[in-house]
């Protein structure tokens, strides 16, 4: 069944106040356009889960969407702090729940597999376990040393940006895959934004490239450039200049809210955002071609 819709409708229908959201992607393919649409639609009391909150959760928290954050690395990668989240945590205005990367991803992997928990070998998490009761120690039934357990994390909604998908939500991804698959299978509802909506045949020509099957997808939306200032491998570059700019901007409440007004609230959608960025930015972010080469699946009639 075709699941193609526009992003505003998908967010309006499937993202509710109080939901636990997981906007997936490790540095790569971060769904900024969906985050901005959630801000525009004024969602409140969200629990925002992400291994690496990145700038998108800083922005959503600044806009007042968040009640709680679940994370394992709350930094601006390669730059420093996420100042909005840091201020809110330091002031006690935001609840938080914290893991290491492996712990966070293990929670998603357990949920994706339909398991109540998954074990890890001990990682020296004693300090974190003292402040986070989700960490449990359980015996190895085969007589080895104890292992650590972490419980499944089931987001109400996972949002993924993908390079290309068909109208059924079958999606090809390449480049850094982060926790995309685990987050999608863990969630109750899955929203995709895609650089390109392609004919089903493009997907079917390379079925091993399909990381997300349409059968778990609730809605798929055609939103080119949805990841900026994050990136889409082969489509556009990470805008490192913006990540550096955010460091200063986000420390100044006046500039921060002016930025949200200008780049989120005042714009109807991602097309307007991308147009506003301007052709110099488009050119600066355009990579050179590096084709993958092909493989042959063979016809067996």
């Amino acid at each position: 069944m075709p699941k193609l819709t526009d992003l505003a409708s998908a967010i309006a229908t499937h993202v509710h106040d109080g939901d636990l959201l997981y906007l997936a992607g490790f540095t790569h393919l971060i769904p900024f356009a969906a985050g901005h649409e959630i801000i525009r639609q004024g969602r409140r009391d969200l629990t925002l889960a992400r291994a690496t909150p990145d700038i998108i959760y800083d922005q959503m928290a600044a806009a007042g969407c968040a009640r709680k954050i679940i994370f394992s690395y709350m930094g601006n990668p390669g730059v420093g702090s996420l100042h909005v989240l840091r201020r809110l945590v330091e002031s006690g205005a935001l609840e938080w729940e914290e893991y290491s990367h492996f712990g966070m991803i293990t929670r998603l992997a357990a949920a994706a597999a339909g398991l109540p928990f998954l074990p890890l070998r001990p990682t020296g998490a004693e300090s974190l376990a003292a402040v986070n009761p989700a960490y449990k120690t359980i015996p190895d039934p085969y007589g080895g040393p104890d292992v650590v357990a972490l419980p499944a994390l089931h987001p109400d909604v996972a949002i993924l940006h993908v390079q290309r998908a068909d109208v059924h939500g079958n999606a090809h991804l390449w480049g850094i895959l982060g926790e995309q698959k685990e987050a999608a299978f863990a969630a109750r509802r899955v929203i995709l934004t895609a650089e390109e909506i392609v004919d089903e045949d493009v997907i079917r020509r390379d079925p091993n490239r399909t990381l997300i099957p349409g059968l778990i997808v609730t809605a798929v939306c055609h939103v080119p450039h949805a990841a900026h200032p994050s990136y889409a491998q082969g489509y556009y570059d990470r805008d490192n200049a913006f990540y550096l700019e955010w460091d200063a901007l986000s420390q100044d409440e006046v500039r921060l809210h002016a930025w949200l007004e200008e780049w989120v609230y005042a714009l109807p959608d991602r097309a307007a955002y991308w147009a506003k960025l301007g052709s110099a930015a488009h050119a600066r972010l355009t990579p050179a071609p590096r084709p993958s080469g092909e493989v042959d699946y063979g016809g067996y009639a």
């Binding site: 490790f26 540095t27 790569h28 291994a51 690496t52 994370f71 394992s72 690395y73 709350m74 930094g75 990668p77 390669g78 730059v79 702090s81 996420l82 840091r86 945590v89 330091e90 006690g92 914290e98 893991y99 290491s100 990367h101 492996f102 712990g103 991803i105 293990t106 998603l108 992997a109 890890l120 070998r121 001990p122 990682t123 020296g124 998490a125 004693e126 300090s127 974190l128 402040v131 040393p145 390449w174 480049g175 850094i176 895959l177 982060g178 926790e179 995309q180 698959k181 685990e182 990136y231 491998q233 570059d237 990470r238 490192n240 990540y243 990579p287 590096r290």
Partner: protein, 250 residues
């Protein structure tokens, strides 16, 4: 005799970190100085290093210096890209990683690292980004190296929060041997038999007193204290070619 070339503290640390790597090892790499150190080692004495980036990239051949660990330049031309779960489970936890690099705001007397919080956890004075993957790198990599400037506030006797374990009693439950060297701009600290970090080497021109003054506990001196060799002209040239805009070498 040609005069020793001039170098910055960051260059000094990167060169000394590179020298700690052995050819053929599998190294879990972070951005910044660890990335530069690994790429320098690749180009000098360790051409068969395998570099793994936390983002899931193996055998990267970046055409530019990456700002973040997830930069697209790490992917294009790499040997393999896999998921984050696989990187932590199938590589780190499985025991395939020889060396990991760690950093943090505080390094304690027994090698504990704090990257989480200054002050009380529930009421933070300064909230830091947190573990990321550093807890499991410290747990699972066969050995770890730390690169950090040598300052008293970075070397307190006890850290405010144990993000990554050093050489306390809990280390016995972990397969990795923990921090085996801390490379600073003054010299190298290494754990002694009790796990306490002691001064194992001084960089050329640095004194024991300088190292002691920059450390937050009574720094012990290894019986075989050595002096590191100054960075060679070749090392410096290769290193600077890796970071021509001096983003990390400043």
């Amino acid at each position: 005799m040609t005069p020793a070339p001039a170098y910055s503290p960051a260059e000094l640390m990167a060169v000394n970190a590179a020298r700690l790597l052995q050819d053929g090892e599998v190294v879990f790499v972070g951005v910044g100085l660890p990335n530069l150190a690994c790429n320098l080692a690749l180009r000098t004495h360790a051409p068969n290093l395998t570099l793994i980036y936390e983002a899931g990239v193996i055998g990267a051949r970046p055409e530019r210096l990456p700002l973040s660990i997830g930069d697209p330049t790490l992917v294009t031309g790499a040997t393999a890209v896999t998921s984050m779960y696989d990187i932590f489970a199938l590589y780190l936890q499985r025991g395939l990683v020889d060396v990991g690099f760690l950093g943090g705001a505080q390094i304690g007397r027994y090698g504990d690292i704090n990257a989480t919080v200054i002050g009380d956890y529930a009421h933070p004075k300064t909230r830091l980004p947190g573990s990321g993957g550093s807890m499991e790198i410290a747990a699972f990599a066969k050995r770890c190296f730390i690169i950090t400037p040598h300052q008293p506030r970075r070397f307190p006797e006890r850290v405010d929060f144990q993000t990554s374990l050093g050489h306390g009693p809990a280390r016995r439950a972990l397969p990795g041997s923990g921090p085996q060297a801390v490379v600073t701009d003054l010299g190298l600290l290494r754990p002694d038999a009790s796990g306490e970090l002691v001064l194992a080497a001084l960089h050329p021109g640095i004194t024991v007193e300088q190292a002691r003054a920059a450390t937050g506990w009574p720094l012990q001196i290894a019986p075989d204290l050595t002096t590191t060799a100054a960075p060679t002209a070749e090392e410096l040239a290769l290193l600077r070619a890796l970071d021509p805009d001096r983003i990390y070498l400043k």
